[in-house]
């Protein structure tokens, strides 16, 4: 494997940055991990809180099967070992957003063991070739409530709606060596989660956030001391946090200081990190097995059902598209977001030819959606209609140029392409007699250019094609125009 060449130039030489990410992904479920309260985003404060979530005395947790199932499916999607026997532990600490005084998590026996995912080569980003990033584990745990500090001069407000919502904590190995690699890892992980359907990947709403572990070293040295920057909530911010933190560490080390293993906070407004200056013993969590919960034991029937329910994943889909003759670039673009891939698969199912369809989607459709400010799920043109349009081009009924015109009308009216072509009389003419007549007129009107062409200025051929097409409002079959023009200019 080629190692990353990303380096931070210091006064004492080049430094390498070592990155590991702990991603907290909210599990897509109706109810919470251990209670029957709802998980929907944006509800009135404290209305989605059961007495279990509020940690009233005597309330007992009962795990939600769907949360376990989604975590198992996620584990399978990163080719990880699934532990048929796992257990919940209590992580003890006091904070205003944690009514229990402990978080139910999994330290000693996580649900999902070792796995990995591959990030693609991206020369522009300095990733020379595909790289496999190790994933140490995925465990299931409760989210905390939400604190608001800006509503009152002396009080913080606590909303427990998020308290007890299921999270997967996905812990990578310290395998990344540049901000770009970390960004690629996050994007890939997000894509997998969204394909699997175990997390909506919505970083703005906080359903995916990352703790960023960064250390620096001279290439070839042992790992340095790391810091952990908490709760960074976008790919761009993660990359910024790494850049800033790595440079800060190099400055500290070269200034004769040492790095303190600590928790830091990222400030998105300045792109900087600062120490949380928490008390030293704040990290003494005194984990122990939760006595309210028996070990979680899964049988083969459950695991088989999880496996059978997995969709085609990004890597497999990309390989399949490339196998259909779609370019590497288009295959990557079409598989990056699950909605795009779904739309494209529907287009193929409707009979569109893969290569033609992939070019059309990545140029025409994306262009139109961009212009309209719409996502592909809200595309005014459905896959079946698009397939019909592409078929009209493929069988020569309309030219590529006309197809753009038809597509515009489809976007506006929602009409079927066949109907539009019929009504507007946009069918392509392949009738040689008609085309020959137009060509004769074009040549007669441009006698000087014909002379120049015959005198060797062959680039003028395109001019004659253009004039002929123009005279026929783009409706001439371009291939036949070419042939007949060549003959006429012979």
């Amino acid at each position: 494997m080629t190692e990353s060449t990303y380096r931070i130039a210091g006064a004492t030489g080049d430094w390498e940055v070592v990155i590991g990410l702990e991603v907290h992904a909210q599990v897509t479920s109706q109810a919470k991990l251990f209670s029957g309260a709802a998980t929907a985003f944006g509800a009135e404060p404290n209305t989605q809180v059961s007495l279990v979530d509020a940690a009233m005395p005597g309330m007992l947790p009962v795990p939600n099967r769907e949360c376990i199932r989604q975590a198992v499916r996620t584990g399978m999607a990163i080719n990880a070992r699934i532990n048929k026997w796992s257990r919940f532990d209590r992580k003890n600490y006091f904070y205003a957003d944690l009514p229990q005084g402990y978080q139910i998590s999994q330290l000693y026996h996580p649900l999902v063991g070792e796995g990995s995912l591959a990030i693609e080569a991206d020369e522009k980003a300095g990733i020379a070739e595909e790289k496999v990033i190790g994933i140490e584990r995925i465990h299931v745990e409760q989210d905390a409530g939400k604190l608001m500090h800006d509503q009152h001069p002396t009080r913080s407000y606590v909303d427990l709606n998020r308290s007890g919502v299921a999270l997967m904590e996905i812990v990578s190995r310290p395998d990344m060596r540049s901000p770009a690699e970390a960004g690629a890892y996050l994007r890939k992980l997000r894509a997998i989660l969204r394909y699997v359907g175990s997390c909506d990947g919505n970083m703005e709403e906080g359903s995916m956030r990352a703790d960023v572990n960064v250390s620096v070293r001279k290439p070839g040295d042992e790992f340095g001391t790391r810091t952990e920057t908490k709760n960074v909530n976008s790919v761009r911010f993660v990359m910024q946090a790494i850049e800033y933190e790595a440079q800060r560490q190099v400055d500290v080390l070269e200034g004769g200081g040492r790095i303190v293993q600590e928790t830091r906070l990222f400030n998105p407004d300045t792109g900087t990190t600062r120490s949380m200056r928490s008390k030293e013993d704040a990290h003494d969590y005194r984990y122990f097995p939760d006595p309210d919960l028996l070990p979680l034991e899964l049988d083969d029937t459950f695991l088989d059902a999880c496996r059978a329910s997995l969709p085609e994943l990004p890597d497999a889909k990309r390989a399949r598209y490339e196998g259909l003759g779609i370019t590497e670039y288009n295959a990557a673009v079409l598989t990056a977001e699950v909605e795009t891939a779904r739309w494209f698969d529907a287009l193929l199912e409707a009979g569109a030819k893969p290569q033609q369809a992939s070019n059309w989607v990545s140029s025409e459709l994306f262009g139109a959606l961009n212009r309209l400010g719409k996502s592909i799920e809200d595309s005014p043109v459905a896959p079946a209609q698009a397939a019909e349009l592409l078929a009209l081009v493929a069988d020569g009924t309309i030219s590529g140029t006309i197809s753009k015109q038809v597509f515009e009308i489809m976007l506006e009216t929602g009409d079927a392409p066949g109907k539009i072509v019929e009504e507007k009389g946009l069918k392509q003419t392949s009738d040689t007699g008609t085309i020959e007549a137009v060509i004769a007129k074009v040549l007669a009107d441009n006698g000087d250019k014909v002379e120049q062409y015959k005198g060797g200025k062959e680039a003028l051929f395109g001019f004659f094609v253009g004039q002929t097409m123009k005279a026929m409002q783009g409706k001439a079959n371009p291939q036949i125009v070419n042939e007949l023009l060549k003959k006429a200019l012979g």
Binding site: G36, A37, E44, N46, V62, P63, R65, L265, D281
Partner: protein
């Protein structure tokens, strides 16, 4: 295993228990007595005995993913020393 006065104070502080100096000193021998007693279990030979997680053989029960609870804000906030606009209101805890 045994604990000293420092450990007792530290554990009390982690558990947010207000323990006076005199109480802490009294707790040292008490806690050590309990630890010694539990340590006697280590004398039992458990070679070949499977670890047991419950006295009655039982497996963890799971619930279906259905919303059956919540929407009890008044009950949830009933014991709060201070609540405003549907939130718990606590002393400012910004870091």
């Amino acid at each position: 295993m045994s604990v000293d006065l420092t450990t007792v104070k530290r554990v009390a502080s982690l558990a947010r228990l207000a323990v006076t100096e005199a109480e802490a000193e009294a707790l040292v021998p008490e806690l050590n007595g309990i630890l010694d007693w539990v340590e006697q279990l280590g004398e039992v030979d458990v070679t070949g005995v499977e670890p047991m997680t419950a006295v009655i053989p039982n497996t963890l029960r799971l619930r279906d993913d259905v919303v059956t609870d919540g929407d009890v804000r008044d009950k949830v906030l009933a014991n709060a020393p201070q609540a405003e606009h549907g939130f718990f209101a606590v002393p400012k805890v910004i870091e």
